[in-house]
Symmetry: C2
Subunit: 305 residues, 2 copies
Amino acid sequence: MANINDVSRLANVSKATVSRVLSGSRGVKEESRLAVMQAVEALQYKPSMIAQSLSTQSTGCIGVICAAENINQSTGYLHALEKELRLNQKYLLLRFATDAASLSHSVDEIGRGLCDAMIVIGARFALPALPDNVITIDCLDADSGRSIHFDRSFATETACQYVLQQGRRQIALINFENSDAAGQILQGYHLALEKFLLPYDRRLVHSGDQALTQLLAQNVPFNALLVPDDATAQDALRQLAQLGRNVPQAVMVFSLDSTLPPGASAIPAIAWPLETLAQRAMALLAGQFSANTGEPVRGQLSLPA
Amino acid sequence: MANINDVSRLANVSKATVSRVLSGSRGVKEESRLAVMQAVEALQYKPSMIAQSLSTQSTGCIGVICAAENINQSTGYLHALEKELRLNQKYLLLRFATDAASLSHSVDEIGRGLCDAMIVIGARFALPALPDNVITIDCLDADSGRSIHFDRSFATETACQYVLQQGRRQIALINFENSDAAGQILQGYHLALEKFLLPYDRRLVHSGDQALTQLLAQNVPFNALLVPDDATAQDALRQLAQLGRNVPQAVMVFSLDSTLPPGASAIPAIAWPLETLAQRAMALLAGQFSANTGEPVRGQLSLPA
DNA sequence: TTGTACGCGTTATCAA
DNA sequence: TTGATAACGCGTACAA
């Protein structure tokens, strides 16, 4: 592989001039510029990113650490982030983490020069102490300065409103287990009920692995079912089908967290605006922390095609 | 951030000795070794990966380019590959590509020193010319030396066998559009029918966007439906539900390509052995091309929980 | 407008 | 067993 010396030799100029031409700086005689371009073409010269990185002390790599429980949920993020990163001439280094320890390990490891910054996504566990160049998306943490949160309360309210519009007044809710997100969801649920003057029936609200089973055991009729994410939705759809309860005729299942593009979901859902999210992440990475109002991101109603 | 000079100074040894200690080489006096270790600890010194890369001419980064149409299908691969790469102290640089041009572009870009090698996954378009350090998984290409293929014929045969065991003798098939994979699927379908002495009814076989619509328009009864992947399966499930045809009672839908872990799929499917696949990819990357017999990978029957 | 020389942080070589 | 020094390939002050 040809290096900058080979090019400078062939073009009869110095390394510096070659570098100047390639970085598009002015103040280079057209003649030299041409000579350099020709030499570059002839030698098929491509600057080495490693050497560039050593010089500039920046690799252009952004570590993305997926800490979401159901990894299928993260594909949407990855796609959106990769697209946005590429637009900014940056690279996406992918990692998965399942707990605070593995997250810490990854941050240490790829932070040793390989990555300029990192993004942690969807962690449902308590976060360890993180360096300044790490931002979080939809994670369990209080530091809103470097983090992007979701407005799950609003999402749940929107969901309730939608199913009510569809004539469903008995809204069951399957929730996450005690976490910040769970609290928000419950809050949105309460708000919606109040707003529409509906009674709160605790027998319709459950959480945890056995949530649906518990719900069905109550023998309380319901014609809408809010679930916290797509994985839970799949599960619910399967169980309801086995019981012969038609979806959506008998029960309308609604997912409060879908990363599928609008229309791709088989059920109504709240979809998070992935492009916007990715752009906000970029802004945060660029150090524009001031632009981060800490305002949680609001999802959009997404209906099946 | 402290560098090797700071350490050598504090430990009263030369850079070379520090490097020796950290790379675990023998031939270092215990006394010096201790001094170095202490200095490292005191300064919280972590060697810079970039500088290491410049020296060794290798970053440890492996580019993974997802070229699959439905990106949700690729999450399984990503997870398996990341795990295996981490085991080998390597890093996963993620890219998406939609066609030959964008693939070429990515290969050029991240091949400029950033990545030691690359893996292309699931491309359904004709591949451009690729450097030696690129391997492919489930792509449209003939070069079996650096590529891993799937045995879709066997998968389809297995699928037919399963649905037949479940008492379904009218097996409809939705196929990819004319590609190598489509040919294999058709072959497996024919083989299974022959084996079980069933007649071939062309009205049961369709491909393309309107496949399911065409199939239903034929008005030929069927009680099993083979679809090429999970996305098509979702689509089929939705359409069948709208027509009031119960799944799996009336029609058993079977996905010929699921990357979900066994038991996670809502329908019976052929799942590819992701760990094995990742390991084979590592072997190929390690240059053990001889170990690649070109033998296509066989999937496993995966039933809903 | 151009070239020289040095810094980036590490590994490898070679002589001591 | 150790240290000085040369790569590795590029960016960039600074001088000309």
